[in-house]
């Protein structure tokens, strides 16, 4: 679901096809019939943006099913490896009781006290206003996560019968997600929905596993993180996590989009998912940061080791115990500094200078017209790319300039357009969609003035350090302290990238590279400043030899010698779950990692994602803290209780359970929760340039969803300048059903114009049976699909779908919504009809 696997990740889809050849069932649930649907054994067309209703229906069906309630495997897995048995506070009230919000709703934010495990409290150290934390921070990791749980251990009911235990809460929450409701909300015939649920049940258990694959069709919603959470709940109930052939595969869309989350260029994260400190008192000192973010049990208990080692990597000798290892040098975030607010700040003139490195927001950003306007308000911009992308040429090339709305002479942005190097022209590593870090070698030097981003950053940093060299102002200390001692080579003094990876891996601190001894993994990192590590999660990738460059391909099962997979070269996360609570394989067929009593350790196909000598019957020692606190049947080491969560006591801003809300722009009201059609915590930007279509707006009656093609990539910056690919996909088009085309007098291959409150865009019509009208809440709903790759520059040009989108974001991670409402008419933007 939420992915067109066959067209967007075609090479990986070969494995799905091979599985199908050996008898696997392949189910595709999507608004559009695509090549993935054509290759599936079952295809179900749904209304875009109703994924939680569908998933909630599956969860409900599973919980009510005879198989789930009679095969002891499911309850054994769930009782031991999830928090199903844990009791929740007495005063918790479900969204089904309160019309669509949970207990703790304070009209604009949640106070999650009632979501806690019974007898535990979420305590925030240092005097901070809870509301302030909730309001200021946008991300999943912060806000609701701040603080630590005090009290406990919470009571449990191993029989899973207590009405206050997580499993019963879950059952109650999803009880209304019946096949009939799913049919009405999603526009799916009941029997098609039940067939999917039965297939998943049939293919889960000791002998079989199911996997769920998703992509941005799931993340780009106002409920995105909760959709993923619903998949996690379903897979945990079915015992499909941590076992071969199971799991949830996030099909990520860029070469190292995983890497750029792990080693983030994201405002709210430091490398290894450590949070950027905020300006709130909770983050004032290293101690308060660690207290609030670290937790006492599980992996995060070692937060201080990871953060101090990072500070040591950043600030070297200037990081001392006396100055909290340079913690005070870290800038503090003061709110949501993510993509959309960045452009709002730019539009207001608050953000004056922008480095744009390999992204094309003039095409790829929601409300792209607004994005271009904002770029024109910058004082200066450095654009680094391979081609002259729209985001660099907007000042003379955009539709707004062409139609005379604005002239280049009115745009004051000073622009530096510097050529970048392609992957074949530099050394470095990518982290792919399954966390595999793979090194690529430089084949040739980049042409002319083209340089790698490493070169650019290294030499910019060198210049900035020089400019601040003699300053005595304390504010300039972080720049002066920054370690920037990478050896260089070649005629352009290119930094030797291997040294950067060494720093990422971590070493025993010493002033010079010659003296630095690489660590072999994050267990060696210390909190006393004796180790430096750029990203604890990647530790082990370069223990003296670059394991990302390893290319042993003898084992075609999990290929442990090909590249390096974080953490610690584990290929299958949470693989402790592949054995039963006693440590025995669940079945011969699904044998993967198990306890070897004679050797007193976990062994198997993979690196155990578990303390290797912790016995399965280890009761855990809460007093000991860290990993020692967790019992031998607690596979989820990042969680303080070692269990996967079917109910989230904290971490999610908009509720402890996934709940169906309509998209921000929807043709119908919420059938399940009448008082809250949409996620009440949705982030919106009420500015003149960003109006919303609202709910059931007759002016915009159709559902629009955007998507990708095989032959183009994202905003087109890497493909629309290539003649081979451009020839294969030469024009912007929209897909619509013959019914809608007939209703609107639209001819196949004729021009159409789409409109929303934000703008109008023209494209060619692809009238196809792949799109079909759905019956939703008793009425016909038409859906339209629009690939978002096109822009006004390059070899092929066309309307940008993102001009139509609004800036609206989910409350947890600030990702925009790709489902919206629109109108469509035959003819071109300027009013002329006819064929191209």
């Amino acid at each position: 679901m939420g992915s067109n696997f066959a067209e967007c990740h075609p090479v990986a889809f070969r494995f799905v096809m091979r599985a199908r050849e050996t008898g696997a069932e392949v189910i595709h649930v999507d608004p559009r019939f695509s090549r993935t649907s054509a290759c599936a054994t079952q295809y179900v067309q749904v209304r875009a943006g109703t994924d939680i209703a569908f998933m909630g229906g599956l969860i409900n069906h599973v919980l009510q099913s005879e198989r789930w309630n009679t095969d002891p495997f499911f309850k054994e897995y769930v009782a031991h490896y999830t928090n199903a048995a844990t009791l929740i506070e007495r005063d918790f009230r479900d969204a089904s009781d309160l019309g669509g919000v949970f207990s703790g709703w304070e009209e604009d934010y949640y106070c999650p006290d009632s979501w806690q495990y019974e007898g535990t409290q979420r305590v925030i150290h240092v005097d901070s206003q809870y509301k302030e934390i909730c309001e200021m921070l946008s991300t999943q990791g912060q806000g609701m996560s701040s603080g630590r749980s005090i009290g406990g251990p919470p009571p449990k009911d191993p029989t899973l019968e207590d009405p206050r235990c997580v499993l019963q809460r879950l059952k109650r929450h999803f009880a209304e997600y019946t096949p009939a409701r799913v049919a009405e909300i999603c526009g799916v015939p009941e029997d098609r929905f039940v067939a999917v649920a039965e297939s998943m049940l049939r293919n889960s258990g000791r002998e079989r596993t199911c996997a769920i694959a998703y992509a941005v069709g799931w993340t780009q919603h106002t409920t995105g993180p909760q959709i993923i959470a619903s998949a996690a709940i379903l897979q945990l109930l079915l015992g499909n996590i941590g076992r071969p052939g199971g799991g949830i595969q996030a099909l990520r869309g860029h070469a190292t989009i995983q890497g750029s989350t792990d080693i983030p260029t994201l405002y709210d994260l430091l490398p290894g998912y450590l949070h950027m400190p905020t300006c709130l008192p909770i983050d004032e000192t290293l101690d308060s940061y660690v207290w609030n973010e670290g937790g006492a049990t599980g992996h995060w208990a070692y937060t201080r080791n990871y953060l101090v080692s990072l500070l040591k990597a950043y600030f070297g000798d200037a990081a001392t115990p006396e100055n909290d290892f340079g913690y005070e040098f870290l800038p503090r975030i003061t709110g949501d500094h993510s993509f959309m607010p960045m452009f709002v700040a730019m539009h207001k003139g608050e953000l004056e200078g922008l480095f744009l490195m390999g992204q094309n927001p003039a095409v790829g950003g929601p409300n792209a017209g607004f994005v271009r306007e904002a770029l024109g308000k910058l004082k200066w911009m450095v654009a680094r790319d391979i081609f002259a992308i729209e985001s660099a040429t907007f000042w003379y090339d955009s539709p707004e300039v062409k139609d005379g709305t604005i002239a280049p002479e009115d745009i004051g942005t000073e622009i530096f357009l510097l050529p970048g190097a392609t992957v074949t022209e530099k050394d470095g590593s990518f982290t792919n969609t399954h966390r595999l870090i793979q090194w690529h070698d430089r084949a040739v030097n980049p042409p002319g003035d083209a340089r790698s981003e490493s070169w650019f950053m290294y030499h910019l940093g060198r210049r900035i350090k020089k400019l601040y060299e003699s300053s005595t102002d304390p504010k300039d200390r972080p720049i002066q302290a920054l370690t920037w001692d990478y050896p260089t080579a070649g005629e352009h003094d290119e930094p030797i990238v291997d040294y950067i990876l060494r720093e990422v891996n971590g070493f025993v601190w010493a002033p010079t590279w010659d003296e630095r001894k690489q660590v072999t993994g994050f267990a060696e990192l210390k909190d006393d400043g004796s180790t430096a590590c750029g990203c604890w999660l990647y530790s082990g990738v370069h223990p003296g030899v670059n394991r990302a460059a390893s290319r042993a391909s003898d084992d075609l099962y999990i290929s442990p010698g090909w590249g390096f997979s974080w953490p610690s070269n584990v290929r299958l996360l949470y693989n402790r779950c592949s054995a039963d609570p006693q440590g025995r394989p669940w079945s011969e067929q699904k044998k993967y990692v198990w306890w070897d009593e004679t050797r007193g350790r976990w062994i198997g196909e993979d690196v155990p994602d578990f303390p290797v000598d912790k016995r399965p019957d280890d009761p855990g020692d809460p007093e000991a803290g860290g990993l020692a606190a967790l019992s031998g049947d607690s596979p989820f080491l990042l969680k303080p209780d070692g269990k996967a969560w079917l109910f989230f006591p904290f971490g999610m801003k908009d509720g402890p359970l996934p709940t169906h809300y309509e998209p921000w722009e929807t043709p119908v009201p919420n059938l399940l929760y009448h008082e809250h059609d949409r996620d009440p915590m949705t982030k919106v930007w009420h500015i003149d340039e960003n109006p919303y279509n609202g709910i059931a707006n007759e002016e915009f009656p159709y559902v629009l969803t955007t998507y990708r093609l095989t032959e183009h990539h994202t905003g087109g910056g890497m493909t629309r300048w290539n003649s081979w690919l451009s020839e294969l996909q030469p024009a912007a088009f929209v897909e619509l059903s013959p019914e809608l085309a007939a209703e609107k007098g639209i001819a196949h291959t004729g021009w159409v114009t789409l409109s929303t409150s934000r703008g109008d865009v023209e494209a060619l019509a692809l009238v196809t049976r792949r799109m079909r009208p759905l019956t939703v809440q008793g009425r016909t709903i038409h859906q339209i699909g629009f690939p978002w790759h096109f822009g006004y520059a390059g070899l092929v040009t066309g309307g940008s779908a993102n001009v139509l989108l609004s800036m609206v974001a989910d409350p947890n991670v600030s990702i925009h919504e790709r489902v919206l409402t629109c109108n469509i008419r035959a003819g071109r933007l300027n009013g002329n009809g006819g064929h191209p």
Binding site: V11, L266, Y267, L351, L354, W380, T424, V444, S553, W724
Partner: protein, 191 residues
């Protein structure tokens, strides 16, 4: 192919094209001209470098063939457990992504309110960019906000990266931003 050294006259007759046709033995190298022998595939004598496809996140391995400092071909790496030699249309197009007449190869500059690009020296551009960062930071740096909270950031500068940058490049960007106090740091990884 290695041939057995001594078969004498029998061998010579056997290699005669007419005899080979009669015995259904194929034409063999007796029919190959000297010119043909001098022809090679474009991958003859190349240096082959291991790389990764820069498009989606599947992580297909590629082999980059280089001759005389130029990339002559890029193909899927058959050793890779991920792609086993295959590539999709975008992956197969990596060659044209690298070798492309539309590529930018010189530093370009557009003055405020300007109407054209100007070609500039890369070092000049780097110096000027550093000055812009310095000037903007000096003017906008906030030590404490209006509520007296320790902020120590540079709110007027932003970084927006793509997700085809290397991990090491992202590492340097974030490290630089932390040092300079830049908090508007984003990547395609969010959207």
């Amino acid at each position: 192919m290695r041939r057995r050294p001594l078969r004498g006259i029998t061998s010579a007759i056997g290699r005669w094209p007419v005899a080979r046709q009669l015995t259904n033995a194929g034409l063999d190298d007796a029919a190959v001209s000297e010119r043909t022998r001098q022809l090679h595939s474009r991958l003859h004598d190349v240096r082959t470098v291991s790389s990764i496809c820069p498009y989606c996140a599947v992580g297909c391995s590629t082999l980059v063939h280089v001759k005389k400092g130029q990339i002559v071909d890029i193909e899927g790496n058959p050793e890779s457990p991920i792609n086993q030699g295959t590539l999709c249309p975008k992956g197969a197009d990596t060659l044209q992504y690298a070798i492309n007449p539309k590529r930018l190869t010189t530093a370009l500059y557009r003055r405020p309110f300007g109407t054209k690009w100007e070609r500039v020296d890369l070092e000049w551009a780097m110096d000027r960019i550093a000055e812009r960062v310095h000037e903007t930071r000096e003017r906008t740096y906030v030590d404490r906000d209006e509520r007296g909270r320790h902020v120590c950031n540079t709110p007027a500068i932003g970084f927006l990266g793509g997700a085809a940058l290397d991990n090491e490049e992202n590492y340097l960007i974030k490290k630089f931003c932390v040092g300079a106090g830049i908090v508007w740091v984003e990547n395609q990884a969010r959207i």
